[in-house]
């Protein structure tokens, strides 16, 4: 049996109005996140992967209630973040925290890094002033920074060090779930490795649960236990990391995997890359949104939206895909 889910996302939707005219009437709708459901188990890392505009960052922000969900639920231990009142949300935020992508804009340039890490403690009024100071020291050490640099400002640090500050700030409230939105994408390869190692070590030491959002398949493969692939606002495939990477069931996942350049000139392929680009989320294609680019598309793909179904018929290992033809592949 599977462990109970720590977070359950049910039928989450986030639509943005497209407004125009003198008094801003709604002209159209961007369906950034469309009917997304998944479970996040305690202690695991779920990698959420997809290309730009697929809705993965919006999904993360909507889960955090940084964007108001259009509909759906986000249950953390049965408490619903999506419909929580301001006061409930304030307490829930202690358990669910976020780490951001851009180490240059995620820290306020006018606030010292020590204050930045202490701010969540101040807001939630945790402990006395001395407690907070001790906690900030502890956090700095936990992320591999010397507590003596607290008085300095963000611009004095490199991208990797700033990202460590961002992680320390995310950990300040002792959260149990961390939504990490592309935390290593802006970093150089050698620094990226340092931050990934830190994230793994923190997860092990503190028993954290990660929702790890990234466009980088190799990073997702490295860090995740399970992986969800998004395309145009929907999850098209979800399952264990090993089965997704070894036996992708959705044609889009396959195309993604094939597109990643391999760092070995001996394995050069003269492949024909996937044609076309992601269509607009304002007017997504009918049926399966991937059908205009899919080499396997048939009539039914144009007509019906495929549901997430178990890939293997002989047993349930949690590998689901939304493709009409997955059992023929």
């Amino acid at each position: 049996m599977k462990a109970a889910a720590l977070v359950e996302v049910r039928n989450l939707r986030k639509h943005y109005p497209v407004r125009g005219g003198v008094f801003g009437r709604q002209r159209d709708t961007v369906r950034a996140v469309e009917d997304v459901s998944f479970l996040l188990h305690a202690g695991e890392t779920l990698g959420l992967v997809g290309e730009s505009g697929c809705g993965k960052s919006t999904l993360g922000r909507t889960m955090m209630r940084l964007e108001e969900p259009t509909s759906g639920d986000v249950l953390f231990e049965g408490r619903n973040l999506a419909s929580a009142s301001a006061a409930e949300l304030f307490t829930l935020r202690r358990d669910v925290q976020m780490i951001f992508q851009d180490p240059y804009s995620s820290l306020n340039p006018r606030i010292t890094i020590g204050e930045a890490v202490r701010e969540p403690l101040d807001i939630h009024r945790l402990g006395s002033a001395a407690d907070r100071r001790a906690r900030v020291d502890e956090l700095f050490e936990a992320v591999g920074l010397s507590p003596t640099v607290q008085e300095r400002y963000p611009h004095e640090f490199s991208g990797g060090q700033r990202q460590r500050v961002g992680i320390a700030r995310g950990l300040a409230l002792r959260p149990r779930v961390i939504v990490a939105d592309e935390p290593v994408s802006a970093l150089d390869v050698s620094v990226q490795g340092q931050v990934l190692n830190l994230l793994v070590q923190l997860q092990r030491d503190l028993g954290l649960t990660y929702l790890f959002i990234s466009h980088d398949l190799s990073v997702v493969e490295y860090l995740s236990d399970r992986v969800a692939v998004m395309y145009l606002g929907r999850i098209v495939e979800i399952g264990k990391r090993t089965s997704i990477f070894a036996a992708p069931a959705h044609p889009y996942t396959r195309a993604l995997l094939e597109s990643v350049p391999i760092a070995d000139p001996r394995k050069r392929r003269d492949r024909v890359p996937l044609q076309g680009e992601t269509p607009s989320a304002v007017h997504p294609p009918s049926g399966c949104a991937f059908h205009p680019r899919c080499p396997l598309a048939v009539a039914v793909c144009r007509g019906e939206v495929p549901a997430l179904e178990s890939v293997r018929t002989d047993g349930d290992d949690g590998h689901l895909t939304a493709c009409h033809r997955h059992d023929e592949i």
Binding site: V189, E221, I262
Partner: protein, 326 residues
């Protein structure tokens, strides 16, 4: 003879905090019809090198202090400034990382491409349209007639980068300098653009300098590679040799920190500890010495020079790594 030879190029930037030696004695060669990759992490000087070759460094604050850029035997740094636009675009073309800002948003694609044809080839009207459709076909844009009447904002990032490549190729340049051409693009579109660039190289014999931070892109596309670190070239050789038998510890470190398929969080990623030295006051010896596990006293004192270790394989290291047994 090499098509492009860069010798001992030094470019500095004057800032409020002092003089930044962004490119400090860089030398490399580009062979006709080959793809040369310049690879390195942010701030290593790879883009500044390309801008210096094109003489596009904003002055002030930047300035090319010394060196030679021999283009078909002629020193571009000594060429009259008025003559550079003739060479830029016609003989050497350049495309940039951000296709979003490279096109003028107030003109249609057709107008921007047409201007190049008009200026360079005196080609106008139907003849120009025909040529544009042909070139757009080459870069894989199918409904070209329709695209010509569109504005940049109506096109996706990948489409814009294709247009930029089309514009660069319209003059049949001998060399295309591509500065992180796929960094802003999605991985599926990146694959399309890299595929396109290889096709063009094979079809037209255009030499390409591909500037990137992505070792995967280098492995997939380049013939030769130059590795830069903190404003210097640390290693330069053929792509196979680089990936199979790197001789500089920094190259080795970079290759090790790549997340290869199948790797999981059960084993930590090998990393290069420490940070890149400040280019305001670069250290005396080898610039990598502080982060290098193999460094000895000499590394902190004498600067290693780029020296040949085997055929066409240059390394700037006092203690280059051994070639692993094959």
């Amino acid at each position: 003879m090499a098509l492009l030879e860069v010798e001992d190029l030094c470019t500095v930037f004057h800032t409020e905090d002092g003089v930044v030696h962004a490119v400090d004695g860089v030398s490399f060669q580009v062979e006709a019809g080959k793809i040369l990759g310049i690879v390195g992490e942010s701030g290593c000087g790879k883009s500044v090198t390309a801008m210096s070759v094109m003489r596009l460094i904003p002055d002030p604050p930047g300035r090319i202090e010394s060196g030679r850029v021999l283009w078909k035997g002629r020193d571009l740094l000594a060429v009259d400034a008025d003559e550079m636009p003739q060479i830029r675009g016609r003989e050497i073309a350049m495309i940039f990382q951000d296709p979003m800002t490279s096109l003028n948003p107030v003109f249609t694609i057709g107008k921007q491409l047409g201007e190049v044809l008009d200026r360079r080839f005196d080609l106008r009207g139907a003849a120009a349209d025909e040529r544009m459709v042909e070139v757009l076909g080459h870069v894989g844009i199918a409904d070209a007639e329709q695209r010509l009447s569109q504005y940049p904002h109506e096109l996706s990032g990948g489409m814009k980068q294709r247009i930029m490549i089309a514009m660069a190729l319209m003059c049949r340049p001998d060399l295309l300098i591509a500065d992180e051409p796929t960094t802003a693009l999605d991985v599926t579109v990146q694959a399309q653009i890299l595929h396109l660039m290889k096709q063009l190289q094979q079809e037209f014999g255009t030499a390409i300098v591909l500037i990137t931070h992505d070792m995967g892109v280098v492995a997939e596309t380049c013939d030769d590679v130059v590795v830069m670190y903190a404003g210097k070239v640390v290693e330069s050789c053929g792509v196979f040799e680089l990936f199979v038998a790197p001789r500089h510890p920094y190259t080795r470190g970079l290759l090790d920190s790549i997340l290869r398929p199948g790797r999981s969080k059960a084993t930590p990623v090998p990393t290069i500890e420490g940070v890149v030295p400040s280019l305001l006051q670069p250290p005396a010896g080898c610039r990598f010495a502080d982060r290098c596990a193999r460094a000895v006293a000499q590394c902190h004192q004498d600067e290693p020079l780029l020296a040949t270790v085997s055929d066409k394989h240059l390394v700037a290291c006092h203690l280059p790594l051994e070639v692993p047994p094959s």
